[in-house]
């Protein structure tokens, strides 16, 4: 186990119990009435879900950055999560939302489809300014198209209640999630992280570019399908239960990279752990903030993530990233 993994596991071990106690009401297990019930049915599933979704987004970001050889890649920002949201909203429309698995399934398909489209347009281009520009534009267009179609679906919602439900869910939050949501997201996300973890060697080979990677025995089609599957599972299941939570996949690999030898294979597991930690901490902080209504997790992370993205751009301009 690497240094980064150990450090992150340690931090999660500290943060997890704290997150159970943190909230509008701080729980003292000894004195708070119904503490056991609140912990078991509200706080625990929420914290577990934060870990699961964060881990999925972190691993997805690391894999995407490795595959596209682009330090700006992020599933939330560049169309993957919006694709998943479109899939999920479509399932509302098709009337499938009643069945517990239809919405996640459609979200998975949406995420996988967006990843496939992005890889098709930008995946094969070389690294460097041209490749990054093409990827960024393609990602933003996919995000914009998916967002527009989602808005269209929302604007045609059958009633105001349905509309506000969808909009609220899209903003991304872990409020009032149950064990049922954990049951949907956890196995799918873990399967997705497993798929992405199998790509370590191929992502390492891709350090040398597409043709050198193939000359090292990388099977490009296998890699692409596993990536689509892995990203679809992690991001799709996350969006299905918590809406769009952006920037985690962007931020986390950058925080973790200095702790590793910078090979993508060494980044996947630590990024999953760091993603879990980041979402867990962020979700605890939004609960504690003294606001009239709870700050949405997705909005909170965007408030951190957007400046981070700008800072990254400035670094890249100076040739440091």
């Amino acid at each position: 186990m690497t240094r980064a993994t150990l450090i992150l596991l340690g931090l999660i071990a500290v943060a997890f119990p704290l997150s159970l106690l943190a909230g509008r009401v701080w729980i003292d297990p000894a004195s708070t009435p119904n503490a056991a019930l609140i912990l078991a049915e509200l706080r625990l599933p929420r914290s577990v879900l934060a870990l699961v979704i964060g881990a999925g987004l972190g691993a997805a970001g690391a894999a995407m950055q490795g595959y596209l050889r682009n330090p700006l890649a992020d599933p939330g920002l560049f169309g993957i999560a919006p694709g998943a949201a479109l899939g999920a909203v479509a399932s509302f429309w098709l009337g499938y939302a009643a069945s517990a698995w239809a919405l996640p399934l459609m979200a998975l398909i949406g995420a996988g489809g967006a990843m496939a489209l992005l890889a098709l347009i930008a995946g094969r281009t070389a690294n460097g300014p041209k490749g990054i520009a093409l990827f960024t534009l393609a990602g933003l267009m996919i995000a914009s198209l998916a967002g527009t179609l989602t808005s269209l679906a929302i604007s045609m919602a059958p009633n105001a209640f349905a509309m506000s439900e969808i909009v609220g869910w899209l903003m991304g939050a872990l409020t009032d999630r149950s064990w049922c949501d954990v049951g949907v997201a956890a196995p799918l996300t873990l399967a997705g992280i497993g798929l992405l973890a199998l790509l370590g060697r191929d992502l390492d080979a891709l350090i040398l570019g597409d043709s050198a990677a193939r000359s090292l025995g990388m099977d490009e089609r296998r890699v692409l399908w596993m990536l689509i599957g892995g990203i679809g599972l992690t991001v799709g299941s996350g969006v299905a239960v918590a809406g769009i939570i952006g920037f985690v996949g962007l931020i986390v690999p950058h925080l973790v990279r200095p702790l590793t030898d910078r090979r993508p294979s060494q980044l996947l597991l630590p990024s999953a752990l760091a993603g879990a930690l980041l979402v867990l901490v962020a979700d605890s902080v939004v609960r504690v903030l003294p606001l009239v209504t709870e700050l949405r997790l997705g909005i909170a992370l965007s408030l951190i993530g957007a400046p981070f993205f700008l800072w990254l751009l400035l670094r890249m301009r100076r040739g440091l990233a």
Binding site: R69, A126, N127, G128, R201, D204, A205, L206, I207, L208, G209, S211, A212, R214, S215, L216, G217, M218, D219, R257, D261, R262, R263, P264
Partner: protein, 241 residues
């Protein structure tokens, strides 16, 4: 033997056949757009020809498992990129990927062969052009390939670094590897290759020992230059009139 048999890809390569020998340096020359890099990629198994096939030591290249092919053939692309700022040692160790082992001995040997031991822990972003080229070749050598295919490995190098890289490729050939390089510098091909394949508009127009291939007549026909070789064999220089 690495043999191309009747390779055709659109108009880029037209019915190209050649046999690359082990234990020597073969140079592929030709004007811009002649199909040199395309031929190298076909020989490396990275491009599938529309017609014809590549035989690696008696087996059709496209029937080999990619990993088996990768163990046999090391390929160094032109303008090789390095996406992340890994340390030199990690970069060189990528050559072991097809073997699925750490291959510490081979990695250390490759670092030593290219005089990179002192730079082993340095991030690749802090390397000079020459050091970077050496590190990329060390990556290929660490995989212990029987065939080394390099696309313009000397392009961005000054004279001293060219000479070092060349000496290293010659050493690989001397130890039995078949080395194929795409080169623009005809004097380099003349003096250091044992064989030269000249391509012109996708066809092989010469395929023999350098002195027999790169004749003034051929230079005029293919490159449209009037030029002659001066100096002694092994130290030839090309002067245009």
């Amino acid at each position: 033997m690495l043999r191309a048999e009747g390779i055709t890809i659109g108009t880029r390569l037209r019915d190209v056949s050649t046999a690359i020998e082990p234990a020597c340096i073969t140079a592929i020359c030709g004007p811009n757009g002649a199909g040199k890099s395309t031929l190298l990629q076909v020989l490396a198994g990275l491009l599938r020809p529309e017609a014809g096939r590549v035989m690696l030591e008696g087996e059709a290249l496209d029937t080999l498992h990619p990993r088996e092919r990768a163990k046999a053939i090391g390929y160094l692309p032109q303008d090789a990129e390095i996406a992340w700022d890994v340390a030199v040692r990690s970069l060189v160790a990528l050559g072991r990927l097809p073997h699925r082992d750490r291959g510490n001995a081979q990695v250390e040997a490759a670092l030593a062969a290219l005089d990179l031991e002192a730079l082993a822990e340095r991030p690749v972003s802090q390397l000079s052009g020459g050091e970077r080229a050496r590190a990329l070749l060390a990556r290929v050598i660490a995989g212990d390939p029987r065939w080394i295919l390099a696309d313009e490995p000397f392009a961005a190098l000054d004279l001293a670094h060219q000479a070092r890289l060349l000496a290293q490729l010659a050493a690989q050939a001397a130890s039995g590897a078949g080395v194929v390089v795409v080169v623009h510098d005809l004097a380099l091909a003349m003096n250091h290759a044992q064989r030269v394949v000249v391509l012109d508009r996708g066809r092989v127009v010469a395929d023999s020992a350098p002195a027999a291939a790169l004749t003034p007549d051929l230079l005029r026909a293919v490159w449209q230059v009037d030029a002659e070789w001066i100096g002694k064999p092994g130290r030839r220089a090309l002067v245009t009139r």
